[in-house]
Symmetry: C2
Subunit: 280 residues, 2 copies
């Protein structure tokens, strides 16, 4: 391999790249950072527009990172070999398996989503922490959710920490952003039953039926769901809280709901609803 | 209220307290930090030995923090009113609702755990991130888990970030630390069925029966479970992964498992196991 080498953290490219840790600069440059080997692999497989790759051979010590290293010759973007010192500077202290990339994040609107038959959709509104957003997408990937819609976003979907916490699945699970009103209208138009999660939700999440086209809507821990979801026709669900805390962490709540929906769907018959006898 | 005031971040008490952000000093001083109002309330209700409270009235802007502020006169520990500058110094940038406390964390061993009839126990082995550990305890609180055992700990149970992520439930849910071998022996002795979670687990987690005394064992994302749990007599379970990632974040996996166990237990009859027909 013979790639241009960068040995100083004061290199202009390094300075421009480091700035992408800040949202303002991500917006200005229209780019984001991808830390880690699995994350970069998934972005590449998904056809994300990766513009630069920085690698530090001495830090590439996982199977996945070494595999990527061997493929670098085949890639067409700008690739730089950097010293450990430069890498740690770029990676903000995280070692990220010696691989970091700059990418132009996808920009999908809700109308670009193509849904499978009988979709199961996750809507997260006003989620604040990138790590939580990434973990929600990771659980959506695991549970086989059709799409994740980030409504009224307060963090950017392609925040480097969200990408990392999603293990790169933010590039492979269909995701998009929209206003809550747009999401609501789109779900109604597509005949998707809405289940809005709230501490005061009418039914326990295990007592509703997720067999049909359904959207699970979750709000921020601080403020709950916005009034868009206050329509009396909307089904509200709760996760029973047996202890002292009045809610789960949003990514944990999402995982519980996604997997219950999937559990129901993996059963052949429609399960009995609340009030009915299971095996009469 | 008339409490001693601290106006300088160079105050010796402040310096000693700030050091508790580092594990080494928590060990040396035998103390930890509790950030936030709900967290402190729960510690106090649980009878935790809180030795000092620092408060900044201007930052106490939540219902819970104002409520605590009104009770300060009744408390017997050392209490200091601090300036905003001093508080931000103590709270490491987190505003923590203007309340921070120093406490001697409980030190429970596995033999101190008193279990209810038909217990449902969570065992987390080698968990690395305090935030994940705290989120696991928060989900355990929510799902009504009987006890959380931290096996072969790599992070300290009462790390301030674990306390914060647990919303203080680490003080109210029965928790303890032990070696994995001790936990294994204790579970065997108490007739608790072990379900070890792994990507290669034999049964889907929804196809096993959690109605009886059960322990859900989870390993670290990086290394999985240790050989202690490799006994061929142990039931192994998996969480089906429908996407590209091969695992969930540990706190999300824990939440899914805890809530499935609780869902089964809330049903009156024992549910059919894999291979049996649900309503024959």
């Amino acid at each position: 391999m013979g790639f241009p080498a960068i040995t100083s953290p004061r290199n202009q490219k390094v300075k421009t790249t480091v700035k992408l840790r800040r949202r303002k600069h991500r917006g200005k440059q229209g780019r984001t950072l991808i830390d880690g080997a699995r994350e970069l692999s998934r972005a590449l497989s998904a056809g994300v527009n990766v513009t630069e790759i920085y690698f530090c051979p001495d830090l590439c010590n996982t199977v996945e990172s070494r595999r990527l290293l061997e493929q670098l010759d085949e890639f067409a973007m700008d690739i730089y070999e950097v010293t450990e010192n430069v890498f740690e500077h770029l990676a903000f202290g995280d070692r990220a398996e010696g691989l970091l990339a700059v990418a132009i994040p996808p920009d999908l609107g809700i109308k670009d989503l193509s849904l499978p038959e009988n979709p199961l959709i996750a809507v997260v509104e006003g989620i604040e922490k990138p790590g939580n957003l990434g973990a929600v997408v990771r659980s959506a990937d695991g549970a086989g959710i059709s799409a994740v819609v980030v409504a009224d976003q307060t963090t950017d979907l392609y925040n480097p920490n969200a990408i990392r916490a999603s293990l790169g699945t933010v590039f492979t699970v269909p995701v998009c952003t929209a206003t809550s009103k747009e999401v609501y209208d789109w779900l109604q138009k597509n005949g998707v039953t809405i289940f809005a999660t709230s501490a005061n939700g009418k039914n326990a999440y295990t007592d509703v039926d997720f067999h049909f086209p359904a959207a699970i809507v979750l709000g921020s821990e601080a403020t709950g769901l916005s009034t868009v979801w206050g329509d009396t026709e909307i089904n509200t669900i709760n996760i029973p809280m047996h202890g002292l805390a009045d809610s789960l962490n949003i990514s944990n709540a999402a995982a519980v709901l996604f997997y219950e929906a999937q559990r129901q769907r993996s059963q052949k018959s429609v399960r009995p609803l609340a009030g009915q006898t299971p095996c009469a």
